[in-house]
Amino acid sequence: MTASLVVFFALAGLAVIGAVSLILQKHPIHSALSLIVVMVALAGLYLLLGAEFVAAVQIIVYGGAIMVLFVFVIMLLNAGVEEHTNISRLAGPPGLLLVVALAGFITATIVRTTAGVQGSSQTGAMASTSGISNMLFRDFVYPFELTSFLILVAVMGATVLAQREKP
């Protein structure tokens, strides 16, 4: 087993444990912390693939900004331990079916594209900062600008909604 494979399994295991813990934790803050673990582990995986820029942005945006907002809101609302209700009887069988379907789909994809996964660690040039910026600001500049416009509209909408109560 090479060193990078060991690191991969460590990070992947951390991500999976974090994701399971996210669902099983009873307190919202603990769930949020588990999600941060998942985000950081994913950033480590990106780093392993040679995508330094994506890894750093993953931590800055998701691990830092977004999750800080999550934690901030949970703290601000002082949300307590969740109450447990009896699990809906309807949710059981369809949920199980969906889990089986999803697991089958993922397994099928992995089995079919093992060769592609092996070669995917060669994405260094594509994942470099200049490669990403060339893609964003040259090849896909219109979709990119449209997306930012959409986000701007959403931000303005949020501001208007938040101020509606004022006279």
Partner: protein, 412 residues
């Protein structure tokens, strides 16, 4: 044995570097508390610590011992896991961030290997981004400490801290973009090298530094950085006149010390960043042709060492009469060694200038704490969102237009 050593040489060198840097950083942090107390005391016409050791120089050791041996009660109703995690997180992230700073241009050639000063490799392409990633996570230490303590003052401190960090992180990141545009890289070494060339009026040395074209960016960066490190006048998360001690009210003993060390380490990291991004890092402020400036470290160290010896000889306590002359002799010997060995003198030029700049910024940190009153909360928010952020965005736009115009001009 030697086969194992040579096979894992990189690993061993890195571990040795980590241990050394950890030792240096923790010592610097300890004496930074002494420096701050002494300086603030003199600003306020007091003496500061002067009982423990000569000039109170052993005060940090006494404080460290006190932290170790104090009782460490865990308050009732705390969230145990998060309560223990928070100081660890704060300290670990603060110490990690300093590992990315490069401390010198030239590698140390030992045992036939090139050992660069600084733990991260000098070709780390995402240097500044990695630093921002670590600072972005740093907020959790403070926020979670405030939340888990089961104390309303702590919770208020944690809330203030997270709101403040979210607000000022934007200005912090945006104000650096101008520097990145000029250097064309995230790599800290390349950012420094880009400042060596001819600057304003085509002069070298101090005129090449980023602080001249990026003066707006520097002001925004430094103010936002002080807010990010929760230092006065932005120390609302621990405002002692309102919140007892803010987020660390319920922490005692070594867990409190961990927050303290984390804060001082962040101060050091931010001072390193200011020097590297805006003040030419390890570049000398003088033109390269002025070789006589290379004796400046000795010119500073020799008189300082002699003064320490003289100061020690007339000191009242026996302890001071022994310790101070020994320290003074060591400093004098260091200054003399730089004169006698030109190779060593060349090697320490870069680290000397970087450390001097870091010291200046640490001084400014303490100076501001001793001078400025604390912001009110609404002032803090308005200042960050309505002043710093727009200025830094304007800075980015103006810088990119100037660079574009220069490119068009040179293309003609």
């Amino acid at each position: 044995m030697s086969a194992i050593l040579s096979a894992n040489a990189e690993l061993i060198i890195t571990i040795v570097k980590i241990v050394l840097l950890l030792f240096i950083v923790l010592t610097v942090d300890a004496y930074l508390t002494w420096f701050e107390r002494k300086l603030v005391a003199h600003i306020q016409s007091r003496w500061g610590p002067h009982r423990v050791g000569p000039h109170g120089l052993l005060q940090p050791l006494a404080d460290g011992l006190k932290f170790l041996f104090k009782e460490d009660p865990t308050p009732a109703g705390v969230d145990k896991f998060v309560y223990f995690l928070a100081p660890l997180l704060a300290l670990a992230l603060a110490l990690t961030s300093i590992a990315i700073i490069p401390f010198g241009p030239e590698p140390l050639r030992l045992f036939g290997r090139e050992i660069y000063l600084g733990i991260a490799p000098p070709d780390l392409n995402i240097g500044i981004l990695a630093l921002f990633a670590i600072t972005a996570l740093g907020v959790y230490g403070v926020a979670l400490a405030g939340w888990s303590s089961n104390n309303k003052y702590s919770l208020l401190g944690g809330l203030r801290s997270s709101a403040q960090m979210i607000s000022y992180e934007l200005a912090l990141t945006m104000s650096v973009v101008g520097v990145l545009l000029i250097a064309g890289s995230f790599n800290l070494t390349k950012i420094i090298e880009a400042q060596a060339g001819p600057g304003i009026f085509g002069w070298h040395g101090i005129f090449g530094w980023n602080v001249w074209p990026q003066i707006l960016g520097f002001i925004c960066f430094f103010i936002a950085a002080i807010a990010e490190t929760n230092r006065a006048p932005f120390d609302l998360p621990e405002a002692e006149s309102e919140l007892v001690a803010g987020f660390h009210t319920e922490y005692a003993s070594f867990k409190f010390a961990m927050f303290f060390i984390a804060e001082y380490t962040s101060m050091t990291t931010i001072s390193c960043l200011c020097s590297i991004l805006f003040f030419g890092g390890w570049l000398s402020p003088f033109p390269a042709s002025w070789t006589w400036t290379h004796y400046l470290p000795s010119v500073i160290l020799l008189p300082f060492g002699l003064w320490v010896i003289w100061d020690g000889l007339r000191y009242e306590t026996i302890f001071g009469r022994v310790i101070l002359p020994v320290v003074g002799t060591a400093i004098t010997a260091l200054g003399a060694a730089f004169v006698l060995y030109p190779a060593v003198n060349e090697f320490i030029q870069g680290p000397f200038w970087l450390l001097s700049k870091i010291f200046v910024f640490l001084f400014i940190y303490v100076w501001m704490r001793g001078t400025l009153p604390r912001f009110r909360y609404d002032q803090l928010m308005a200042f960050g969102w309505k002043l710093l952020l727009p200025i830094s965005i304007v800075n980015v736009i103006v810088t990119s237009f100037v660079i574009l115009a220069k490119m068009q001009w040179s293309a003609k």
